[in-house]
Assembly symmetry: C2
Homo-oligomer: 216 residues x 2
């Protein structure tokens, strides 16, 4: 009665509006989204969105929060698993991301754009401010590995950047690349599938190289 969930017996309409709003927000971004767009997309009257959610901004907050909670959690489970190796974790994270991004190709651009307009606010909204990467089991494994072998003359942050870049950027740039190459959506998804195996391989190349060729 006061836990405030499941109060609504039949939340079908509310959920439909949320789903419609999620689609429109992620496709067009917060600024370019009109509440009327959401009404149209959901098929309901404009004032319904203000009846269920107080305002455009509140609706936005709620949707985004719900959308990311589960994903962040799934990644945290992977990085804190004590039974998988670093290599396995990398592969699992890549799979997790590629699955998610194939379903939601507009998401990275949306996220990065909204973060860009107010980093602290958005990170707090999606609960990413509380995530402490350094406290994960993966970070511990990484530190142990680094202690045992001669570290490459390259700061670790570069490898994190590279992995994220190789996974995420092709989704962001999808429209450009498809437009220039004429590759259709399905073929492009196949390319992304190929990268499931390729990215871990490339990352290990970069990670295990001696960097002796890197001079002058």
């Amino acid at each position: 009665m006061d836990t405030n969930n499941d109060i609504t017996p039949n939340s079908s309409t509310e959920d439909k509006i949320k789903e419609a709003a999620r689609r429109v927000f992620i496709r067009k971004g917060y600024a370019a989204t009109r509440t009327r767009d959401i009404a149209d997309e959901s098929g309901f009257n404009l004032s319904l969105i203000n009846y269920y959610f107080r305002s455009k901004e509140k609706l936005f907050d709620i949707i985004i929060k719900e959308h990311f909670q589960s994903f962040i959690q799934s990644v945290m489970v992977i990085v804190n698993n004590r039974d998988t190796s670093i290599q396995q974790k990398i592969q699992l994270i890549i799979n997790n991301y590629i699955d998610m991004l194939t379903k939601n190709p507009d998401l990275p651009l949306f996220v990065l754009k909204e973060i860009n307009s107010d980093p602290d606010k958005f990170m707090a909204m999606i609960g990413f401010d509380k995530v402490n990467g350094g406290g994960t089991y993966l970070a511990q494994q990484w530190a142990e590995m680094a202690a045992h072998r001669k570290a490459p003359p390259v700061k670790p942050i570069h490898f994190l950047m590279n992995t994220a870049s190789l996974i995420i950027f092709p989704f962001i740039a999808g429209p450009v690349i498809r437009n220039k190459t004429g590759i259709d959506k399905e073929q492009y998804n196949n390319l992304m599938e190929e990268r499931r195996k390729l990215i871990p391989y490339w990352v290990s190349l970069m990670l295990n190289d001696s960097y002796e060729g890197l001079n002058n």
Copy 2:
């Protein structure tokens, strides 16, 4: 008298408005930019922007066109240079991009967002629709190289994606990474400087590997 340029004797105000508009548009995106923001940023009256440029959209078009013309041209010069090797071209392009992106860190996100909202229109606007990558001298060099050695079992498009990813994505994700790591802007620029040498090295690793380890 009919070539329509240099008609304006003193274009100082017009240029100031253009500069202000460029800053605001690229920082906030087209949808979130108010003409009043541009007026404020420029220090001039709101109606001045409609006096010089007919509308918000026309102003946008003009600015974007001018902004990209020079950059695209500089890249085309590099890829069509008959006196440099592939490796040298890669290095030059990377330098070109990192220079430009260090000065305009908001640019990639802006471009990708606008392209996303209407690929054909934006590509045409910046003149990128006329660019034919396959017709460049670099493409010819690439084809020759591919003919002479056993091609890796990986489609060439992946290497293009990877290079672009490694260059551009760290700029896009800068705010997120800085927010999580506490790295300040100057330190982050230093990281980007390090990548001038690192990215070509990583790309050659990926390019020259035998891919024998890539199985199952």
